[in-house]
Structure formats: C-alpha cells, structure tokens
Amino acid sequence: MFDPAQAHDTGVAITTSAPGMITLRGALEDTAFKAAVEEVSGLTVPEPREIVQSGEHRLAWMGPDEALLILPRDALCDTLAALETALKGHHALVADMSDARRLFHLTGPDAALRDTLARLCPVDMRAFQLGEIRRTRLAQIAAAFWMGEEGRLNLICFRSVAQYAEDLLSDAAGKGVVLH
C-alpha cells in the first residue's frame, strides 16, 4: 500500500494533502466577476493555463469560464460565504468541491518529476513552465497539474480514482529519468 513518506530510487517522493477547493464558474473576462473574485481571494484572475499564488491561496485557470480556488481548509467556510456575497447579482456559480478531488505532491529532481508525468500525460513536459497549469489526461483519467516552484509538482484528480492515480504515479516515478 501507499506510504506517503516513500522515496523512490529516483528521488521522487509522493505525498497528499487535503486543502479546501472551490470551483468558480463565471465569465473570467468579465470585469465585475473578476473584481469580486480578486477581492475575496486576494489573487488576480489567471490567464489561460496559468495558476497564481499568494501565500497558501492559489487560483487556477480551469477553462474560459471556470477557475479553481485552492485555500487552507480553515478558510473554506468564510471564503465560500464571502464569495456568495461578493458575487450576488452576478451570473456565477460557487461550489465547494474540497472533497471531490485528491491533491498529490511530487517532490524530487526536476528531470525525474517531468519524466514521471511524461510517461502518463500527453503534455510537453520539457516546455512545461513554473506557474503553468495543465488540465489533461493521466493515463486513463482526467487530471490537472502545476509546478509552483522548482522540484515540486502538484496534481489533482477526482477522489474516486485517487488509488489508481497513486498507483500510476508511484510506478512511473520509480522508472527513473529518460532524458537528462
């Protein structure tokens, strides 16, 4: 079974965490919507395929009309309420999706991290940038991932397939580096 502290020969370690996650649906280019979200989250609404961060709060672009706010659990309730208030009168949907997804963290040498996902995701991992988020396919499931800093890769998938994702990631991380 999964041992969160397990470090692979390749130096890649996999851990999980359970922050709050709020799905926001609205027109991301709409100034009023933007202002409301920025006011509550303290973050600028991201550009396509971007994730922005401030402290423990992150705001990820999930589509032209969808964003994901990731925040500490203890700030969840207040933030949900604040968003509902700030967006009152706007056409927007705020949904608590904190329990719908599992968040994985992969830490280790940069090349090993990139190659781990290059085995599973149809993404150009050589060109993948810090601050970029990709919604894509992890082998047979939907996933999204980003790198906030060098040596740390974060990935979310749906809760029901977390075991599958964990098996995939552990396996792929253990296979080493293809391209140095």
Partner: protein
C-alpha cells in the same frame, strides 16, 4: 559452410565472448553479435522452416526485412515468438528456438506439404475446403488451426514491464544512417528541437560498410551528441506516422541485455511538427529457382556479415546480380581471402568500374547470364548456369556453398506512405520513390513529411549527405528555425564511381519453364511462388490488393518487405499492365511488429483500468461486499455473510429493509448542479416534464431523452433555490449527462445564462430506508421531520451526528426513505453513526441487487434494463412524466415521428408466471407463425426479472405488444432450455400499490 574469420568485425568485441542456447545447444558468440551472425559463425545456416511447405530456410538478410530467421526468444514469462534473429543481439544466457517445425528443425514431418505443393496452389484455402460443408467445422478448421501460425503464443504472464513516453519535437528524423544524421545536424543548426531515431544498435546505416564512411558517421554523431536540444535514440524504431505529425517510436530497452531490470520496451508517443524519413532502402532478392535454399543471401547482407561480424556465409560464394552493387560483395569476399567462383550478371553489357576491379582481381565475370537453379536442400551445393534470355537450359554447373544475390534496391517508403505520401515509379532505377510534390499533409494543407537519402532513391554517398542536410534545413525552416548548411566533408569529396544502369530482372532466366517458376520464391515467409501470382492473375485477381489476399503475398509478419515489388512485377507481367498501373498494396503501420506490452504500457495489473471507488468502498470491502461493476464504479451487489450466497444475502437484505431498516451507499449517483437565471428554462428543455414550476425545497422525478426521443437517463431533481437545481443522474450516466448538458449550452443555447458543475465526487450519499428510517434520523439529531413537516419529495438541511447534511426525502424502494448527502470526507462517519443508531432495529446495508428487486416490486423502471437506446418514455407508460404544457423539450419532435407515435409499439407491463418461477433474462414472448427467415414470430420481451422475497415468487417486467390493453392475458416466453413458460400480463406494480408504506 558459414564460419567466423579470424580477424576483424566492426561490431563485435572479441574480448567479450558470450554463450547462448539455440534449440537446446550451447553456442558461443561475441558481444555485439546478432543472433543471426552468431548462428552463422557456428555454421548454423538453417534457421527455420517456412509457413506452408515447411521448407528449410536460412537467413536472407541482415536487418529488419528478414523473413526467414524468426525465433522464439526467452523462456516462461519472457518468451516471445517471431523475433528476427538479424535484429536480436546476443547476450550471456540468451535462449532461442527456431520455429514451425516438428519434431525438430533438421527433420520435419510437415515437409510432406512441399511434396504436395501442386495440390496447395494460390487460394487453396478458398478452393479446397468448400465441400462437404460439415467438414469445415470438424475437420478442416481444426487441422488448419493446428498448422497455422509461425511461432507459439506465450503461455505465461509477461514478466516484464513497459512504459509510454510522450515526446514533443520540432523535427523528427527517422533513420540514423548518413542521410538521417546529416538531416538532424542541419535541422539542429538553427535551434529547432530535433529527435533522431535509429532502429538498430548502430549509427550510420550502410555507410560504414558500403561507403567507408565510419569517420564521417562518428563526426556527425559526436556533433549531435553535444547539442542539448537534440534527442538521439538507438534501438528505437519509427513504427508509424499518423495524422497531425503523430509518430510512434518503439524502443527496445532490455532485449539485448542479460539484466532485465526496468521496462522492457518504451513506446514513444511523439508529436512532431516536421518529420524526415531517412529510412534507407532494402535490397531485393532475384527470382530464380531454388532462391530459398539456405545459403542464398542478399548480397548486401553477405557484405554486412563480413564487415560487421567477420562472418562468411560460405567459403565459395557465387554472386548473381542485375546491378553494380553486388560487385562490392564479390570484392569484399575476395579481399577477405574467400572464393568467388563467378559473378553472374544478367546484364548483357555487365557492370562499370566495380566490374573492372573484379576482373582485375581475377574474378570470373559472366554477363548476360542467369542462375537457372540452385542445387541443395538444407544448404546450397551449387548453381546451374544458364543464359538470362532463355528458358533455363543449363550451360554449366558451378559448385558453391553460398549465393549472394542482388535484384536492385527498394527505398523504404513505408513511413512516407503511412499517412498518405504518394509514390512515383522510377523506370530507370526500377523502384517506387516518394513524390515530393505529394507528401502527407497536415491540417494546414502543407506537407509535414520529408524524405531523404536512399529512402528517396538517392544512393551516392555525397548526394545522400547533401540531400539529408537539405531536408533537415527545409523541415527546420518550416518549424520557424531556419539553420545553415553544415560543413559535410568526407565521402562527398570522393570521385563518383562509374556504374552501369540496373536492368530490371523480375524472373531469372527471363523465360523460365513452369517447373523452374514453381520453385522460384517471391515471399519466403508465406511460401508464395511466381506460379502462384501468375495463377491468381489468370483466375481474375487483377487488383494488387486482391492478388495479395488470394496468394497471401506480403501478408506475413514481414509484410512483404522483400517480396512486394518482385511480386507485383510478376503480376504486372501476367496482366500485361505497367507496374505503376498495378500499383502497390497499402503500407500500414507498424513498420515491423511491436510488442503488445509496449502498446499496453502502464495499463496492466492494478493499473489496467481505473476503478472508481465510493467514499465507503473500504468499509464495504471489509464487510463482505461482493462487488459488481457499474460503469467504472465497483458497487456492492450484496453483503454476503458466512454461509450465504449472493441470492440468500439479497433476500435477507430486502426482508430486513422492508421490515425495519436498511442502508444503501448511493454515493455513485450523479449529482450535477445547474445554476443561473435561465436554469429553469434549461431544465424544461432537458427533462420531459415541467421542472421550472418546482418550488425551492422540493424534488421531482424526471426523464431525459436524447434528441432522437429515446429515454437516456432519469433521476430526482431538487430545486436548491430559485436559481439552482441539483440533478441526480444514474450512476453510469453522470459524466455522459454532464457532457450532454454542456454540449447543448455551448453549441445551441450559448446565450442562456446557465452554469453547471458535476459535483458527483463531492458528496457521499446514503439512503436510509425502511419503517424505522425516521426514528434513526431523529436519534441522530434531526428535528421537525414528522409527517407533513418534512413531506415526501422535499429536502431539508439538518445536522446529523454533528455533520452538516442535506436530507432528501425520496424513495426508490417504496419504503419510507431518506437520502442523506454529506461531504465525501464525512461519509464514513455518517455511515458509522447510522449503523450505530440503527443497531437496535437490526440495521443492514444492502447492495445493488436488493435495490433492483425492491424497485422492480414497485414497478419502477431502470435505465439500462427497461431502456436500451430504442425505448421512448411512452413505451414505459411514463406519459404522466411528459409535460403537455411545454412548447418543447429535447426529444419532443422526434417522439412525434410516425414510428414513435404508432399504436402498436411494445409497451411495459408486469409479468407473472403461472407457476411462480423466475422468467429468463431477456426472454422473448412468442407469437404464432414464423417470419421470412424461418424464425418464430415474437410479441414482446422480458426487461427485468427477479425472485421477490417479499412475494415469494418470480416477478418480472417486460415490453409486450399492446401490453396494457391485454391485462390478464397469458403469453408464452421462450426459455434457453427449449420450450416455453406461460406468464400472465399484470400491473407492473406488485407491492403496496397505494404507497402506504412510503407516505407515512
């Protein structure tokens, strides 16, 4: 005999001997040997037997095109059949066995087929086994199955692992010969990301052997290795080129190693902006009688074995050719001190500079001559010499133990052609070449594949370098990275040899007698001879694709790499139609077969398929759940206790639930939030019933149809607030229905203000079912849930066991029932609290089968049982759920079509067997008479059928012609055993019709 010479061998390391086993014998080779070269070094010339006639066969080629030397490699979990000995590198402990023989390679019973060859002509499968008809199943097919196939299928589970690797590149070069290296070098000069794949273990292709270009190759490799933006892979074949620059690369990581640690194969899934195919060319055999006797080898392969492994195929080698290249072989053999009794050149005028050189060394050169026949059975003993222009009258016997043949070159156009690149026939060189003006095109209509070097029909080394570099620059330029022409010194500076043109020779001698033609092989692996192709043409198989399938030419594992051009030339001759008009068969990926493991990649064992697990999955597993697949989910079918089977466990669960209290994990049901000012309008279009009138806090059961009118999903809708609805979908329907909603919103009603979120995974949902359900809720802290304070088809928020919960009072069982939704992470805590609170009532979890039986007792339909994609709600008596007030809903118009509206559609009824038995699943109700196909007429079918522990008899629903108008009538249902079972048409609701249990 074939043997290892004492000195030399570019690829072998004589300081590192290895031992391996072949057919149980221990043999020795050197590190760097291929299995083929090592076997030849041990005088093992016979390496297999052919597919149809079981003729002895030796190695013909030295690379990927090899049709004969196919081996079973490895043992047990690492056994794999049909591996080419010419590509398999030897390592310490390698196990190899030859194929398609019984009982042994040297003595084979199946060889009798060869004696019967005149009774096994082209198309014999189609001709021979037609009659008597019954023989096919009992005699012919079993016998054919016994003898079919080359290698044995592995029996054990694959011991190795495999992986995929997604790779992105500007320019992909396939083929690491001189052209490919030059192309990569030029392409990389402007900063483009370049990837270079070479299927063999060595860079340079034929250049080191044929052009003395080792230094040039090493310099290019050294240059490229220094560049960070260049990726180079050996033992990695470009397997296929697909649309939009998608390419599969097949890398063999451990096949050449004794240490099998790590993935065995890696499948490169490459996106390339531009592709260069520098895949070289394959030498063609010549078609003369006995050209399949072990020892008859391609002239280029004879050179390769000599230069790369210092192995001679024979002591006395006759060279036979229609072009100048084979003279290189004669010269190389002569220089190595081996005997070349004669060079037989079919051309009257003979060769150019190389022929002069051969004569100068005293080699006998015969022009205008041909091999009439090769003598020998398991190895060559000699050739019979004839004139090329005649029928094969023998002039002289020449003793030899090997024949080196060259019929010219066929550019490897496979990868160029995979995605639609077109070919031209080059009459002068007698070969198909890529037509650069008709390349495979991408989404922008521009070509994305370039071809360079021998693959493009360019053979002079200097020209190859220039052409490769030009292709590299062109490709890089197209990706926005223009480069500069690199300095390419080396063979390009050497004077060109004067060569005489090739003369197409498709049959040797030109007018060979039938007896000779019947021993002249075109396709070695599938045993197709010149006479077979001629017979196919004679019998009317004029299309090259038809002739291929009729004769099996080019249908073996090598896909006719050696045979296709020779075969279609014979067909062209037989049809008296020029070769370009006959055309080629289609080139399909992969270039050579790739392993199933590489295709599967990580999808094996635990990760074969993603299983979706509910938040309560582990609890279920720990408490006897017998799981069943529902979509990708695994749901408990029943919780089986010791001494029970699934059936008795289900009966216990139902009885307990109806008597007191049961719990169901309903977390897998789809939960989609729909919100916005236009949400009500949108809901009215999605569902057949009126949803916009639903009051906040209330629930309504709804039906969803496809635009063709067919019922696609159902579920309870709750109106959370004025602007927000929650749509429950079926377990398997959540993703599909969410996509359906988004499709309509994004493509048709893009201006409606509606957002959706699929929140299925956010919630654990638990159904608390049975007469004691309300008491348990109250025990956990719910207040004000009595009677009309919390009416049926409404929801309320409560704090249960300290968890914020949304409680829906809905029922799919006919019992008093609440479905409680909590954040998924709280699901187990709530479940445990419910079990504790319900303990005094004997609470039991129940599975999907109990759910199904209880809903069937109530006559509730199930998507997937009562529906199958052809059923409309009206068929199921659900007219009450179709709004007459609405102008439109998805599927409304379709339901007005004549066929949907006709009165004699089969309709839903209950079915009660007269003897109380359970009707067979899917059984048909028979009707009098037979249809045009002689089958019984039918008038209905069973859609759901169960044993009801409540009623202690079988219950069923089904669709029956005019069913609702035939209440009380008896119809007969077919059984699998034969005979019929009578059942009475009844009301589908067989339990608590008045709903007294639910409405308390």
């Amino acid at each position: 005999m074939s043997t290892r010479l004492t000195k030399g061998g570019r690829r072998i390391d004589r300081s590192q001997p290895v031992t391996f086993r072949f057919n149980g014998r221990t043999l020795r080779g050197y590190r760097g040997d291929t299995l083929a070269s090592a076997l030849l070094a041990n005088d093992q010339m016979m390496m297999g037997r052919s597919f149809k006639y079981h003729r002895p066969r030796g190695v013909v080629a030295s690379g990927a095109e090899e049709p004969n030397a196919l081996m079973g490699i490895g043992q047990g979990g690492r056994f794999e059949p049909n591996q080419r000995a010419t590509q398999q590198e030897v390592f310490e402990g390698l196990e190899a066995e030859s194929q398609n023989h019984w009982p042994s390679l040297a003595f084979d019973v199946g060889e009798v087929n060869a004696a019967l060859s005149r009774f096994l002509p082209a198309g014999f499968y189609y001709k021979t086994f037609l009659w008597p008809r019954a023989f096919w199943k009992h005699v012919y097919e079993p016998v054919i199955r016994q003898s079919a196939g080359l290698g044995k299928a592995p029996k054990d589970r694959d011991a190795d692992t495999y992986e995929h690797y997604y790779h992105f590149t500007d320019v992909l070069v396939i083929g690491g010969g001189l052209a490919g290296l030059a192309a990569a070098r030029a392409a990389a000069s402007g900063g483009a990301r370049v990837t270079l794949l070479e299927q063999s273990a060595h860079w340079g292709g034929r250049a080191p052997t044929d052009d003395d270009a080792t230094d040039q190759v090493e310099a290019l490799v050294a240059d490229l290795s220094k560049m960070d933006h260049v990726t180079m892979r050996l033992r990695c074949m470009g397997a296929g080129v697909y649309d939009h620059g998608y390419v599969l690369g097949y890398e063999r990581l451990t096949d050449h190693l004794a240490d099998k640690t790590g993935p065995r194969h890696r499948l490169w899934r490459i996106r390339a902006a531009q592709i260069i195919t520098a895949t070289g060319a394959i030498e063609r055999p010549l078609s003369f009688a006995g050209n399949d006797v072990p020892g008859v080898t391609l002239a280029s392969a004879v050179r390769d074995y000599l230069a790369d492994y210092c192995v001679s195929v024979g002591d006395r080698t006759v060279v036979v050719t229609n072009n100048d290249d084979a003279y290189l072989t004669a010269l190389a053999l002569d220089r190595a001190g081996l005997s070349v009794p004669a060079i037989i050149d079919a051309r009257q005028e003979g060769g150019g500079d190389l022929a002069e050189a051969a004569r100068a060394r005293g080699i006998r050169v015969l022009t205008g001559h041909a091999v009439a026949k090769v003598t020998g059975r398991t190895r060559v003993t000699g050739v019979k010499l004839a004139r090329q222009t005649g029928e094969g009258a023998v002039i002289e016997d020449i003793a030899c133990d090997a024949v080196a043949m060259s019929g010219g070159w066929s550019p490897v156009v496979h990868l160029w052609s995979h995605c639609g690149g077109k070919l031209n026939w080059d009459d002068a060189e007698a070969m198909f070449r890529p037509d650069a003006t008709r390349p495979p095109t991408g989404a922008d209509g521009e070509g994305f594949v370039n071809c360079a070097g021998a693959a493009d029909g360019v053979f002079a080394p200097g020209e190859i370098l220039q052409a490769g570099a030009a292709a590299g620059l062109r490709a890089a330029g197209a990706t926005g990275h223009p480069g500069q022409m690199p300095d390419l010194a080396g063979p390009s500076e050497r004077p060109l040899r004067r060569a005489n043109p090739l003369e197409p020779v498709w049959l040797m001698p030109a007018s060979a007698t039938r007896a000779l033609r019947a021993k002249t092989w075109l396709d070695y692996q599938n045993d197709v001879k010149v006479t077979d192709v001629q017979l196919a043409a004679q019998e009317g198989f004029e299309s090259v694709e038809h002739a291929k399938r009729y004769t099996t030419l080019g249908m073996a594992t090598d896909q006719g790499k050696l045979s296709n051009i020779n075969g279609l030339a014979i067909l062209s001759g037989a049809l008296d139609t020029p070769i370009p008009q006959v055309g080629t068969t289609t080139f399909r990926p992969p270039f050579t077969p790739i392993s199933m493991g590489a295709i599967a990649g990580e999808a094996r064992a635990e990760t074969f398929q993603p299983l979706r697990r509910s938040p309560l999955h582990d609890w279920h597993a720990a408490h006897g759940a017998d799981f069943e697949p529902v979509g990708a989910w695994r749901r408990p079918y029943a919780y089986v206790r010791p001494g029970e089977d699934r059936h008795s466990a289900t009966a216990r669960e139902i009885t307990q639930t109806r008597a007191a209290l049961g719990l169901l994990d309903a977390s897998t049901l789809g939960k989609i939030i729909v919100k916005g000012p236009d949400a009500g309008r949108f809901m009215d279009m999605l569902y057949t019933n009126m949803m916009s009138t639903l009051k906040p806090g209330r629930c309504r059961y709804g039906l969803m149809c496809s635009e063709n009118g067919f019922l696609m999903d159902d579920g309870v809708v709750a109106r959370w607030d004025e602007e927000t609805f929650l749509c429950h979908t079926t377990t398997g329907g959540a993703d599909r229905i969410h996509a359906h909603m988004e499709e309509w919103l994004q493509t048709e009603w893009w201006d409606w203000k509606v957002w959706t979120v699929n929140a299925t995974e956010q919630y654990a949902q638990i159904a608390v079912v049975g007469p004691k359900a309300r008491i348990v809720l109250e025990k956990l802290g719910a207040e004000g849930v009595e009677g009309e304070a919390f009416p049926f088809m409404s929801f309320q928020n409560h704090r249960l066991a300290g968890i914020d919960s949304r409680v829906y009072r809905i029922s799919f069982s006919g019992e008093l029932s609440y479905e409680i939704a909590v954040p998924a992470g709280q699901g187990l805590a709530l479940w445990q609290a419910l079990l504790d609170a319900g303990a005094e009532f004997g609470v039991m979890p129940y599975g999907t089968e109990a759910l199904h039986v209880m809903r069937a007792e109530k006559g509730f339909i199930m998507i997937g049982d009562e529906t199958d994609g052809t059923i409309i709600p009206q068929d199921l008596g659900l007219d009450w759920a179709i709004s007459k007030k609405k102008d439109d809903y998805i599927g409304k118009r379709a339901q007005q079509r004549e066929d949907m509206a006709r009165s004699d559609r089969w309709k839903l009824v209950g079915l009660k067997t007269l003897d109380g038995s359970v009707l067979p699943e899917g059984a048909y109700a028979v009707a009098p008479g037979h249809n045009a196909n002689g089958q019984r007429n039918v008038q209905g079918r069973v859609t759901s059928t169960y044993h009801s522990p409540t009623l202690e008899r079988g219950i069923a629903m089904g669709l029956v012609l005019n069913g609702p108008n035939r209440m009380g009538e008896t119809v007969e249902f077919d059984t699998l055993e034969g005979g019929t079972v009578p059942a009475r048409i009844v009301d589908p609701v067989v339990f608590d019709k008045a709903g007294e249990k639910q409405n308390v």
